[in-house]
Each structure stands twice: as C-alpha cells, then as structure tokens.
C-alpha cells in the first residue's frame, strides 16, 4: 500500500502522529494508573492507536467498535520488572438485532510505590524498585448496536488504585464509528465520571479524554496490511498514535504478523516506538509486543487469543 493511496484524513493523522516524536514531555499524571496502559500485545505494538481498533480490546477504547470484532477470548500478561506486571482479559459476544454486540474486559496492573505515596501514580512505577506493593484494576462492560451505518456503543467502567488507601471510581465511555474513506472512522469520549466512589477522598485527576481515529485494511500481494491512527486529547495533553501491521498467511488458518507502532508516550522515560508480532494457528493466536524505555529497560507483553 502506497502512502499516496491513503485518503487525506489518513495522511493527516499519520503526519500528526509523527510530529510530536521529539516532544518528550510527560503527560499530566492521572489515576487510576491502569487507565493509561494498553491492555494487550496487539494494542501495545500498534502504539495504543485503538479507538478505531478491530478486535475486542476496543472495549477499553471505543465500545462502538465492538461490532465486527471477532468473538475471541483473549488473555494478556505484561512484564515490566520484578515488581511491575499487567494483565488483561477480554471477550465479546454478538447476536440479536441491529448487530448487537456485548463486550467485557478486566485489566490489572501491579506496581511498586513508596509507602505513603498517594495517587495519581506515574506509569514509571511499573519499573519501580520501592518497597510497597500497589495494584490498579479496571473492569468494563460495554455494548454496541449498528443503526443506519453508524456503530454506536457505550461502556461502564469500574477502576481502582489499591494501595494503603483504596480509591475507586465509576466511569463511562461513549463511542461512535462508521465506514469512512475506505476504512473506519471512530470517535470516543473516554473516562467520563462524576467523582470517586468515596466522596471523602480527594478527587484524583482522571484521564478523561476525547479520541478520534481511523483504521483500514488492505491487501498487497500476499500480505494483509492494516493501518491504525488515533489522536487523543485530554487536559494539557494531546497524544497522536499510529500503528501498522503486515500479516502473511501461507496456508488457510496460519498467519504470521509483524507490527510497529508510534505514539507520544505518557512518560519521558518511554520511547515512542513499539514493536510486536503474532502467530496464528487456526483458532489460537499468540501475540508479543515490546515497549522500550530509557536505560535499556523493556516491557514485554504476551497475549493469547482463542477463537
């Protein structure tokens, strides 16, 4: 696929995603921590550009895109350091009128803090070497329907940072998507909330944001290509991202895929580039992604999908 064959919106998003590569400013800290972490190896490798994503991990980004996502069951594990890990589970079910699709997901992060630290926590703590053990968790249930060519979805979330003080919050996501310029254009409002569950606790800054994105798939000779873009904006932070994957299948049911993603990272310590790959054998897919950080630090994410 030549870049010139992309529609103008796609080209603009690609350019937008490349502009801030040198701007290594830290994103304002938000809580709960898990809300800013990509859930699976695929999403990680593709730079987190998943608002117009095409599998059930979109439940964390844009519930409207659940429609058409394969009904896989996916489980992911991420390793940052001895004290920093992430995990996620997602699945979806489709059936009924208006392409009704239901999805759910759970995402966890385990990280290290200094006792007494209060949220919001920096994602760098996933590489933490401090003494205190902390968890961040997210549960989400969403649904989507299709009406007059528009996919419309909503999701309810429960997110928590559990340290010596537990802080929990209910959130909601809303999304819409439709076919656009030979791909899918999508828009979502994420992490909308009225406040923490316990009103006596100080309200942490939530990563409430709006995201727009576009994705497309193409066939180029023996390769299956897919391209994803996203532009997100929250208070004092705009983050473009893009991901590209190329798959090759030599026989029905078997597929190898290479992935690369760029994004404006949340922290100064992370590099914008992420890499990944996948191997599919019939109903089973094993995915891997690599995130690169300063001082040679790396995070490895593995996802196993069962269709």
């Amino acid at each position: 696929m030549r870049l010139t064959t992309l529609p103008p919106a796609g080209v603009m998003l690609v350019l937008a995603s490349l502009l801030p590569l040198s701007a290594f400013a830290q994103a304002p800290l938000t809580a709960p921590l898990v809300l800013t972490q990509p859930p699976s190896a695929r999403v990680t490798a593709l730079g987190g550009a998943w608002v117009a994503g095409r599998d059930q991990d979109v439940i964390f980004f844009n519930p409207a895109q659940l429609i058409g996502a394969r009904n896989d069951f996916a489980v992911s594990f991420g390793h940052f350091s001895n004290g920093g890990h992430t995990a996620a589970l997602t699945s979806s079910y489709s059936g009924g009128k208006l392409s009704f699709t239901l999805g759910w997901g759970v995402q966890l992060a385990n990280f290290m803090i200094t006792p007494g630290d209060v949220p919001p926590y920096s994602p760098d703590l996933l590489f933490g070497v401090r003494a205190g053990d902390a968890q961040s968790a997210l549960a989400v249930v969403g649904a989507a329907v299709q009406y007059k060519g528009f996919k419309i979805g909503g999701a309810g979330k429960y997110a928590t940072d559990r340290t010596d003080v537990n802080r929990s919050v209910f959130l909601a996501d809303f999304g819409v998507a439709r076919n656009l310029f030979g791909g899918v254009g999508a828009f979502a409002v994420q992490n909308v909330s009225s406040g923490e569950v316990d009103p006596s606790l100080p309200l942490a800054v939530l990563p409430t944001q709006i995201s727009g994105g576009w994705s497309t798939t193409r066939v180029a000779g023996p390769l299956d290509l897919a391209f994803f873009t996203q532009l997100s904006h929250r208070e004092d932070w705009t983050s473009p991202a893009a991901g590209f994957e190329a798959g090759y299948s030599w026989i029905e049911g078997y597929l190898v895929t290479a992935r690369v993603g760029v994004r404006r990272p949340e922290t100064e310590s992370e590099t914008p580039l992420s890499l990944g790959g996948a191997f599919t054998a019939d109903r089973l897919t094993v995915e891997y992604a690599l995130r690169l950080f300063d001082q040679g630090q790396r995070a490895h994410v593995v996802t196993i999908r069962w269709r």
Partner: protein, 661 residues
Amino acid sequence: MALNLRSTTVAIAALVAASCTATLKLAKDDSATVLARQSIAAANPADKGTFAVKFLTYGAGTDKQRSEYRDGVAFKTKTVDVSPFASIPKPQQKRRLKFWGFDLKKAPLNARVWYPDAAGPFPLVLIVHGNHNPEAFSDPGYGYLGELLASRGFILASIDENFINGLSEENDGRAWLLLKHLEAWKGFNEAKDNPFFQRVDMTRIALMGHSRGGEAAAVAASFNTLKYYPDDFKQKFNFNFAIKGVVAIAPVDGQYKPTGQFTPLENVNYLLMHGSHDGDVSTAVGLRQYERLKFTDDQPHFKSVMFMYRANHGQWNTTWENKDNGPRSGRSLDLRGLIDPEAQRQFARVVISGFLEATLNGKGEYIAMFRDHRAAGGWLPKTMYTTRFQETGYRALAEFGEDVDLTTGAARGVAIAGEHLSTWQEKAVPFRGRGTDTQNHNAAYVGWNNELAKKPDAPENAPKEIGPPAAYTVALPASLPGEWGIGANTVLTVSLAATTTKPGPRAPEKTEKEKEEEAAAATAKGKTPAVKKPPVKKPAEPKKPKEKPDETPVELTIEVVDAAGHAARLPITNYGIARKPLEANVYRRRGRDAQRFTNNYELVPQSFLLPLADFKQAAPDFDPATLATIRLLFDKTQAGTVIIEHIGVTTPPAAAPSARR
C-alpha cells in the same frame, strides 16, 4: 549459539509449515491406456474451422466501467427491468449504483460476440458466466470458445451479467436475462440495419452457463416453455425459442427453485461438465439436473455428463483461472493437483464444440464421445474422465426408487434377484459433501466376494476356495420386449460405479445334511430347559490393522439370455471403465477435506451402453427380440461393491436418426 537459535527457528518454522500442509494425493492415472485409441473418424471438433472470426460488442451503452459497453458498442440495445427476479440489498444499492451507473430496473443487455465472417445463417450460442467479484468482469473469459466456435460457424455471445454478481437468490434473474438476450437476437436478425440481419438461425439455439450461470441456462430452458413466471403470474412469459441444447459447466443446482421445487427440464440436449477438484462448487450438484431431465417427445435428444479428473471450477474461464476460493485461493486450495489450465480448456473445446456440432448441426458422429469418452481418446487431454449418457428411447428396467421391494424393477413385471451376494440394498446415492444432501435418487448397492470363508476346523494353510460367481439378475416379463420394441437396434444401458468397499469372504453354502442337523439342534434346544452356563472369558482378539480401501478396478460380465435360453456374454470393460472413485483432495490444509466432505471423491456412475447387436454377434443364437434376462455376473473381480444406478434399454424411436456407434 545465535546460529543454533536461528537454525532451530527455521527448522521449527519449516516443520510447522510442512505439518499443516496435506500431502498431494492423486489417483493413479490410467489415461495412457484408457485414452490410447481414437475411434471417431470425424475431424477434431476443437480444431479451428474455416471461417474468419469477427468480434463486436453490443449493449445499452450505459456502462460506466467498460468502454466496450459504452461508446464501444457496435449497436445499442434497450435496457430491461430485472428487478422482479433479482434484488440488491439496501446497504449495497448506493455503492452499486455509483459503480455501474444503473440499477436493476435499467439492466443492460450487454454481450461480447464472436461470429463467422460470412453470410450465414448460423446457429446461435449464448454463454453466461456465474457468480464472481462483480468488479472483476467475467464475460471476457470465454473468448477461447468464441474464437473456436465462430471459426466453425457458430455465433457465440458471452453475456454480461456482472451487475448481478454478488447478489443472492438471483438465478431466476440470470435465466430471464438470457431469454431477454434471445429476444434481442430475434430483433437483430430481423433489423435491416443490424450487422446480424438474416445471419442468425433462430431455429438452432444453445444456452451455456458456468457455475450459477450453469443453473441459469437450465432454468432459462425451463422458463422458455412457460406462460408465466412460476413465482408470480404477473410476469408473463412468451419466449418459446428453439433451444436445442444446454451446456452446464460446473453448475450449481437448487439456488433457484421454481415454486419450491428443483427446476424441471424436458426435451433438450444437455451436457454437464464438472471437475473433481472444484474448489467452489465442490459437490457436482449438476448431477441432479442431469437426472431430472426427461425426454418425452420422441425427438432425438441426449444428455451427458463429462466428469473430468483434476479440473477445477475456474479454469474454464480465463478470468477466473485457479481462484475458486477468491484471490487468496492458494492459501486454502491445493492448487498442486490441478490440471494445466490450457488442458482444461482444451477439454472444453472438444466436448462443447462436439456437443454443439451434434445438437445444432446434426453431426451425430460426435455423440460417440459422450457415450464412451474413450472414443475421443486422441482428442482429450490426458487425465481421467467418467461419462454418463442417456438418450431418447431409454426405458428403465430398474431404477431402485419406485418402491421398497428389492426384487421389483421400474417396469411392471420386471423381477430382480441376487445370487451369492454379500450385500444388496437400495439407498440414496450420496454427494461428496457433508450433510444429508443426496443426488436425489436411489441405487442398488451390491457387494460380493467369491472367495469362500474357511471352515473353523480348516487348517491354516488350506488353499483358498472360490465359489460360483455372484450375480445380479434383472428378469423381463415375456411380453415386455414386444411392447417396447426391443430388437437388434436396442442398446442395453447400465450405469454403475465401483466403490472402495470390499466384503469379506463368503460363508460357504450349507449342505442339506448340515441344514438338517442345525434344525434338529434348534428344536432340541427349544425343548430342553435352559441351563445357565458359567461365562467363559474370550481371549482378546488381536487388533486388526486398519483396512485399506479397495482400489482394484472392477471388471464384470454382462450376460443376456433370450426366451429360448440362448445366452450371450460380454465384458463390461469393452464399453467403459468401472473405476474405483477418483480421490480428489480440494483443500491444502491437512484434514480440511475430511472436515468438509463425507468422501474425498464424488460418486459419479459410469454409463455403459451395450448394443444387443454386439451380443448377437458374440452368440448368433441369441435373439434380442425375446430378451428375457440381463445378468451382471461378478466373475472377473473376486470381491467388490458396486452401485448400480440404472439398468435399462434404449431403442431409438423410428423418427430419431440412429447415431449409435
């Protein structure tokens, strides 16, 4: 270490790739012997004819995509409203309108025409493609037939129905469009300013179709004789064209069912071509249409099946080629097994041209290749074929679906008997595909093994004992040969397929003494109070190795006997090959064929046409006019199972010119 890791990775990748790909398996090719002779003396119908070939396109001139159907048309045609017969789902309507520039209410009558550069009039042949990517135009793919047929004095029009490709439940629309083209051709022939003015012989028409088009051609032939569209009387029909032949190339069947029934067809010549390695219509469902076609008007018609080993779905169209499963067919289909595309098309040239010469030009000498393809051994590409054939004058003696009595035939008074058979049952002939779909008719499954089972007290090294040969006999009532006009010009027609099932040795016949002893023992057992014997633990039987399917070709003898008891025998192999089913693995992925199909072959019975005159020649005392019994004598092959689909006789009506042998 790095090298080792890389080598290991490569080795694992190679192992994975190899282990998920099925090994190429093909049936042993016998074409070198089977196709060794050529008995038809006429010129090869695939040879270029004497006419110079001209080409043009006609159409509505509204096509946005193709200049040949826009400003390139030689003359314009009116659009037609095909919407009563086909519909576009709402989400597709806008996109399709944008692409084509018209909707189904203004469907164009577009076609590519190859025609002889001479005055004519010439017979008219329409060919229509089937379903395919609508934007990858299918109609140019029959140019190789157009060039050949036009040079031989046919007008071939390849009809453009790309604009209804990608729809569903539209096969009646495809058929109706074919008939609307015929209406247009009638107009071309009558219009002084048209290049085809008085150059078309509208009394000699054939319709051909590929895939969905194959069904459409048969549906069109059926619609041709109707007054109303079967599903809506508001659509009046008044076609009545002189359609003499229908060629169905790897057709579907039953995608359109008028009034919920399979399309009936009568009194038209019919040729079905299908490939064993069809990756799209993998089940040869056209066999049902072949079976449904009846000849009821005493005019000379014939129908034939030519089943080609290693042929696929698409190579009969140069646009489709080996993409039976879409652009990525190589991922799912095992393309290694396919015959060379040019060889597949050469087969099409031979049989289609031969069929059209026979049906539109009255060249009966070409019919011989449809009776027994070996007659065209020098023309056909070197692979294996199965041929089915039936013609006007055929009357069934046994067809196995009329009742549930194994001993009665299809005609009144016909009796069937089996001798020394291991299996004898009547049931539906299956298709290769999974599910309950069958060929919609029954056959007799007859198994035998002439080897006698060893008696329990026989020594290990006792020689093999062979019993009298098994037989399957059809007895005719005495009056029937006279009533049916059976005589020296009658042809005995047997349609059968060998299977891979091989029954075990036959239980020896019991002597009278043994039978008496057994009866006495049974009586005594009834009188004696039962004493419960302590259970005796039987030693575990050694595990039998998995039995390999029997692939030995079947040979048998056909014996006919007249009323006076004069018998004549001929080997069936003089009249065709009773091959075991030809293994055809369509999919590339190991195990995928087993997952999708019940069998890795299509059961296509071979027709054997045995002239009674040949029996008379073999045994001059035999009187065909008093034919009393027909016996399938399983004396050449020791054991096997065959499916007998038809046993009948064909006596050409007085009106029909005999083109036998």
